[in-house]
Amino acid sequence: MLEVRSLRAGYGRAQVLHDLHFSIAAGEFCALIGANGAGKSTTLKGLAGLLRPIGGTVQFDGEPIERLPAARILRAGLALVPEGRRVFGPLSVRDNLQMGAFTRLFPRKDPGTARQFEFVLETFPRLRERLDQPAGTLSGGEQQMLAIARALMSSPRLLMLDEPSMGLAPLVVQQVFEVLANLARNGLTLLVSEQNATAALAFADHGHVLEAGRIVQSGTARSLRDDPKVREAYLGI
């Protein structure tokens, strides 16, 4: 579904990603693990069109997307839940969800949005209770659920999440990953970047290990969990 070839990206003169190669098959729950500064966020931003890559290609369902603006990539079916949740605090939960469907509501309302709204509320029943509450008043875990729900409003086929466990209690991290695993079982393709490799590899099917802007290891989540180097460097065992 997603083919990343020789992707290079960075900020100003500082190149962060050097020659990134990896691919994701349809329906796969894929984890991108690595330490702070390895280039996980840069990778996701580059794929989502929030950062223009320096070079390389990204193919989504066979179409090159690396030069497209963010709105076009979103419309093609690739959505990003940004790092640190970033819900629209002053806006209500309902308005946050509406903003998630921004590219589908304007200029003409896509009738599928109403169905997606129901689907999202079924997936996250807590949000239904809080529809008219300002998003800023939700707990951290609820905000993360809202951020995921908001991204789902665009009906993506590939959902990317940047550090969904950040700042959440272990129990809540567990809940978030359970929701993600559930979405994956229902056919959504997922790419999750995580420092919390334990949680990510416990739920994902596949993993890629990112170090200093390069993929240094790839494999099934099980094989990575059992790999002595990964265990030592990322799982703290």
């Binding site: 979103l74 819900v87 629209f88 605090g89 806006l91 921004f102 304007f106 665009s154």
Partner: protein, 334 residues
């Protein structure tokens, strides 16, 4: 879907309230005992344009402009100079003022708004300083420190708007139009995008929103409203002088946005009322208004982060709900 999202409903409610309020404002010329009190009504609407425009940018867009008085002056001088020195009909001058202030906002916004953060505040700070110097130094055009006098009144379709009685309706219409446009804009695609950008630029970008466009549009609207306010001011006052449009005036307008209610749709109504009334009430005490405004700002920051509108709005909603309930029980009574 209709119960899922209702931006249109909010817009309709606001437009209906504006219509009721503006009909009520028609009574001002009848209540005002003399031309002086009537002219305060005119200044209220001019201030409403200034504060309402800036509230869109600051309150909903999260960007600060320190040049609202500069655009106000730009509008006043463009229209004033064109009619005094070039003999343009005043209404053409008003149109030119509106266009030029909007275009100069575009020119400043294009580089300044590409950057994330408060670069617009810095750029506009500089632009206001440049404008003040131009207003003072281009003596041949603007009359320099002595001001530009002899600005002709607006004559539209044979009606002379020279008297406060007639001009009031012109300012009334401009203020109402501004509030109506704001209501429509806020519920539109661009308005919703703007609110999202102010809340989180990163998240807005990942929703496919072009943050730069949203902010630029808001800035152009705010400058355009100020330019229009300036042109109306010049032709009403028939005189303009540079110190009305300096940097400290810009800061005062920022304070009025906060006092009225930062990001509150009805905030500018209160901000404009305070901005118009307080200096008049404190006429006896020279320069005391700055003290009052400063104290007001502190009170708002400490106790009323939503401004005056933020504490009045819930009360108004409750009264409206109570009246609807009352009307319903009366209607159902046999």
């Amino acid at each position: 879907m209709s119960q899922a999202f209702s931006p249109a409903k909010q817009c309709e409610r606001r437009l209906a309230t504006v219509a009721v309020l503006w009909i009520a404002f028609l009574a001002w010329p009848l209540l005002a005992g003399n031309d002086y009190v009537l002219s305060l009504g005119v200044y209220f609407f001019i201030n409403l344009l200034l504060i309402g425009g800036l509230n869109l940018l600051m309150g909903f867009g999260g960007q600060i402009s320190l040049c609202q008085a500069g655009f106000f002056g730009l509008g006043a001088y463009v229209s004033g100079v064109l009619s005094v020195r070039a003999g343009w009909p005043p209404h053409a001058g008003v149109a030119a003022a509106l266009i030029l202030s909007t275009v100069s906002a575009l020119a400043i916004g294009l580089p300044a708004l590409r950057l994330r953060g408060n670069y617009l505040a810095m750029a506009t700070l500089g632009f206001n300083a440049i404008l003040t110097v131009l207003f003072t130094e281009l003596v041949g055009l603007t009359g320099g420190p002595n001001g530009l006098s002899g600005i002709p009144p607006i004559i539209l379709a044979g009606v002379d708007f020279g008297s406060p009685q007639r001009f009031y309706y012109l300012a009334w219409a401009a203020g109402g139009l501004c509030m109506a446009l704001l209501a429509v804009f806020l519920s539109s695609r661009a308005g919703r995008a703007l609110r999202a950008v102010a809340a989180s630029e990163v998240a807005a970008a990942s929703m496919g929103i072009n943050a730069f466009n949203a902010k630029l549009l808001a800035f152009m609207f705010s400058a355009g409203a100020a330019g229009l306010a300036g042109a109306l001011y010049a032709h009403f006052n028939q005189y303009a002088s540079p110190e009305t449009f300096n940097f400290s005036a810009s800061v005062l307008i920022v304070v009025m946005v906060a006092l009225g209610g930062w990001g509150q749709y009805w905030g500018p109504i209160f901000g404009a009322a305070v901005f118009t009334a307080v200096p008049e009430l404190l006429h006896k005490f020279q320069d005391a208004e700055l003290l009052v405004f400063g104290a007001g700002m502190i009170v708002v920051l400490l106790f009323l982060p939503q401004g005056i509108a933020g504490c009045v709005a819930p009360i108004a909603t409750r009264i409206a709900a109570g009246m609807t309930l009352l009307a319903r029980t009366r209607a159902t009574r046999p």
